[in-house]
Amino acid sequence: MAHGWLALAIALLAGISRAVGDSATLFFNRVRPVRFAVGLALSGLLFVLSLLVQALSLWLVITLLFGVNEQPGRVIVIVFLSSAPLLLGFLNMAATLGPYAGWALRFLSWLIVMAGVHLGFGFAIWQAFLCTVLARLLVELLSVAFGQPLDRISAWLWRAATGASIGMSVRGQRALRTGELQRSTILQLSNSLSAQLFGDGVPAASASAEGQAERP
């Protein structure tokens, strides 16, 4: 029981750290400091939920494919503990090198899940590898099936918690991580400012209004 709480604490902190790593999203939305902190906490909770889904998928694969009769609790603890490297997830924020650090940490996290399945259930390495890959596929399938309503709920939650408007959908978050949304927003803002300078257009729009750029 004790290590269950410990694992939960690690997962929560890893989620918050990861959110710091991705905080360009919140900064770009010009959220206030208090809202920023709320956004980080919300991100931590959503991360724990996503780990829970991953753990249940892994448990399903282990149970159905390999016939292991085990309560999901143990798998959940393994998956939560595997997020330990992501305690350094804040490093993702580092300019230029951050995304590489992020990939390395996620890879390490995946290795821990594999090691957990290998040692925890006595599986061979290839079996553990197969389990993690299939579990990942299952999560992807679930996201295809239920992605849209979940995305809407998550975007609504983000907006309510942080007041942010740009890049709150999954697609928007992706565009913010790759910088596409920042670029299009800034270019739009430059056009508005230019119109104001040349005196041939509407006054320069505020950056928050530039969220229109996200719309497909």
């Binding site: 360009a24 350094l88 804040f90 490093l91 300019a95 090198l97 800034i186």
Partner: protein, 363 residues
Amino acid sequence: MPFGIIILVSLILVAIAGVLFLIACMAAALEPLLWWAGWSRRSAVTLLPLDLPADDDPPEPDVDSYLVYLSGAGTMDPAMMEEKERQFIELLRSRLPRSVLITDVFPYSATNNPQLGERRLARLWRYAWQARNTRRRNFFQWLSVHAQQLRNSLQVAVSGDRRYGPILSYGVAQVIVAGLLRHGYRLGSDKPVILAALSGSGQISVGCVPILRRLLRRPIWIASIGGILTDDPGILETEHVYHLSGSLDNTQHMPRFFFPGVWPIFTQSAINRARRQGKITVFDVGPMKHMRQGDYMSRSATLPGGQRYVDKTVDVLTEIVARIELGAPAVMSRPEGAVPDGWVSEPRVGLVLRSLREKAEGV
């Protein structure tokens, strides 16, 4: 001590150094982000003066071009250049009497706040400034000088990062436009605007180009002096990039380590597309280094013909500016030899230019 323990301790130290470096990279990203988010003291995102010159104000100066000089990562304050750089600027100014040379832009800050300006670490940077002017430095002075350069270099990394680059560029581009307006530029002017970018400001200038193009509604040229050019998409919006490359300058090739987009295998990256479109011309200016003795501004080092390095750099820059002013085609006649497509070595430039000038003057 057993060998294994030494290895372990070394690995731990390397890991700690790596994490500390990444934290420094994080801190670098925070400066433009805090400005953008309105959390810093300089919270206004629009930096441009919107009360532009009225029609009865003095007309635009009678010049042929505007050259905005953006210094390298070693700069701390454009108002306090080192002697070598100041002499380079003076030489350039004397060779380009019909160009307005703008030197008061600090490209490593979104708000044009120089390192010696109002900053939390102002005391450290002042200490570094004094240390730079000291011949025999102690350890802390040496450290502060390198920290100063690292701080600016990390802003180059911020500029090259797609997540933060547009924000930094938005600030710097506005500062450049404000500088142009201060020096008499009128919006809508047909005089070419050229960014002369040294070292790290190569990337920063490329990042600014798309914004400058929109703000000024004019094409923008870049003259990069050993500049750092990454795979920033802004390069595709640049009218042309003239890159002065010293054969002993390895720093200009640093992006190969951090920006895979510059590798030739990524054929669709912005810089590789720009190369294919003939938007980049590289001048081999001789055995120049990136910094210190023998660099692009060196007055003591000379080429085999006896020409000082600084004179060579100024010569090539003058030629580039003249080409742009004359509206000459960007890619020049290709000399004999193995020169990659769209890339041209330097010696023929003078000849081509002379003929263009003669043509323009009706000789």
